[in-house]
């Protein structure tokens, strides 16, 4: 007989993974997340765990709720009027939606990079020292160290070390995006959320960001939203596929792209959608 049967179907809510992972391996755990923008039910019963020091990619068609989901992780939706959320997001053992949570503290531990690079209209150096200064750090020597360290981690140091005083706006798009990553790193986050960080970049700048992600995951946990499936396949360890506000399938990236269990996932990644 031929051995091996097709794996039992699992749904997006990560039953398989949770069986053989230690709870400590999860940096973020989502429990029954539901989110509404007024009466638009944008996230439906999301249960997923983000694994430490890995890259997790979120894919899915436009409007399925990817950006909404990663904004949940650092309470970025709070500022949106009409937005309501139910469920728990456990980060470092605590529900970030619980009582008496310092939202600023959460955001400083879970940084975010946006689709369009958004450097502050100030010098390269000030972009990076801004966060530490807000947190009360003024010693120029320490700030210099932070600037060099973060720019190196963001693989930008060599390109800008002689123009630290120049305006960040004069950098190329790819450099600006890496500066934003360096800025996010300056406040020593544990998790980096990236919402389509390369969609406005050329292939070379994109490749740099992708390489950077591989470097970053040694120290940080990265969650990246991308429309580029090849990118998700290339750089991530885990992939979640969302559709109409639901997490349809979540699993190891190879499995999702080589042998998805859900028909919807299969249809989406093979371009047979709609």
């Amino acid at each position: 007989m031929i051995n091996g049967k097709r794996n039992q179907k699992i749904n997006g809510n990560q039953k398989e993974e949770s069986n053989n992972k230690n709870k400590n391996d999860y940096v973020i755990r989502c429990q029954d997340i539901n989110l509404w923008y007024d009466d638009n039910h944008a996230l439906k019963d999301i249960n997923m765990n983000i694994i430490n020091n890995k890259i997790t990619a979120i894919i899915g068609p436009s409007g399925c709720g990817k950006s909404t989901l990663i904004r949940v992780f650092n309470r970025m939706n709070d500022v949106i009027e009409g937005c309501r959320i139910k469920g728990d997001v456990i980060f470092d053992g605590k529900n970030i939606y619980g009582k008496n949570v310092d939202v600023r503290a959460v955001r400083s531990r879970i940084g975010m990079i946006f689709q369009k690079p958004n450097p502050f209209p100030m010098s390269v150096r000030d972009n990076i020292t801004y966060g530490p200064r807000v947190h009360g750090l003024y010693d120029p020597k320490i700030l210099d160290e932070i600037v060099e360290d973060c720019l190196k981690k963001a693989a930008l140091w060599e390109e800008v070390k002689d123009r630290l005083k120049d305006s960040a706006i004069g950098l190329s798009g790819g450099q600006q995006q890496r500066l934003c990553i360096a800025r996010a790193l300056s406040i020593e986050p544990e998790v980096l959320l990236m919402d389509e960080p390369t969609s406005s970049l050329d292939p070379i700048a994109t490749a740099k960001i992708e390489e950077l992600c591989q470097e970053l995951k040694k120290k940080y946990t990265v969650i990246i939203v991308t429309h580029n499936m090849q990118q998700a396949a290339r750089i991530s360890d885990y992939t979640g596929f969302m559709y109409l506000g639901e997490m349809i399938e979540f699993g190891r990236t190879e499995q999702i792209f080589e042998n998805p269990h859900e028909e919807l996932t299969e249809n989406y990644i093979t371009g047979r959608f709609g």
Binding site: I2, N3, G4, Q230, T270, G271
Partner: protein, 216 residues
């Protein structure tokens, strides 16, 4: 993009089916040429060698091009991955046909009925394995390959029984040693073709289910 890729994959699949037709014809014609001592037929099998090789490298080039152009995923990816391996197995099957055809000339006068019946019987088994493997690929369906392991075992047993029979024949008639040795070789080639059919079945299984299996 997705549409063009699918068209490309369908055409690739059709090419594989054509190649499969050629490879199994080469094997079938070779065995028929042997059984009927048909030298012309044997020569025509040898003449197909280049055509077979051309299929092999053209399909490979086309499959690689499809991979780079479209970066297919899931079933599309698995289909192309399967094709890249299957053409190698088909190529080998066709080549064994050619190898068998090459010895037909030397076997025209001396062999006996019982030897060819053993070969013929074995060939019928092997060629039905090949046919079922190809059909499963064509239909992306794995029911027909479910019993391949048992069927391949039978082929192995046939090979050993031909071996034993032929060895005792050699002992009886040392003058027939060269031609008996050819028969042992031919049964070995057929057994290899059966193995390649199993390899094709493994790839079809992967293509359809996404899971790797080992047959025999």
């Amino acid at each position: 993009m997705a549409k063009e890729m699918r068209k490309e994959i369908i055409e690739l699949k059709e090419d594989v089916l054509k190649m499969a037709g050629l490879a199994s014809n080469m094997l079938n014609d070779a065995v028929n040429a042997l059984i009927n001592t048909d030298i012309d037929l044997a020569e025509s099998v040898k003449g197909n060698k280049e055509k077979l090789r051309k299929f092999d490298y053209e399909i490979e080039a086309r499959a690689l091009k499809t991979l780079t152009l479209y970066q297919p995923m899931a079933i599309d990816l698995r289909r192309i991955a399967a094709i890249l391996k299957i053409i190698t197995y088909l190529y080998r099957i066709g080549r064994y046909g050619k190898d068998i055809a090459s010895v037909v000339k030397e076997l025209t006068d001396t062999f006996t009925y019982s030897e060819t019946t053993g070969i013929k019987h074995m060939w019928e088994h092997v060629s039905s394995l090949i046919e079922d493997a190809i059909e499963s690929f064509d239909k992306a369906e794995i029911t027909k390959i479910a019993d391949f392991e048992e069927r391949d075992d039978e082929v192995d047993q046939m090979r050993w029984s031909i071996f034993r029979e032929t060895v005792s024949h050699m002992l009886e008639k040392p003058t027939h040693i060269t031609h008996s040795a050819h028969f042992i070789m031919i049964s070995r080639y057929l057994e290899r073709c059966g193995d390649h059919a199993c390899k094709i079945a493994e790839k079809v299984h992967y293509m359809v289910t996404g899971e790797h299996v080992e047959i025999s």
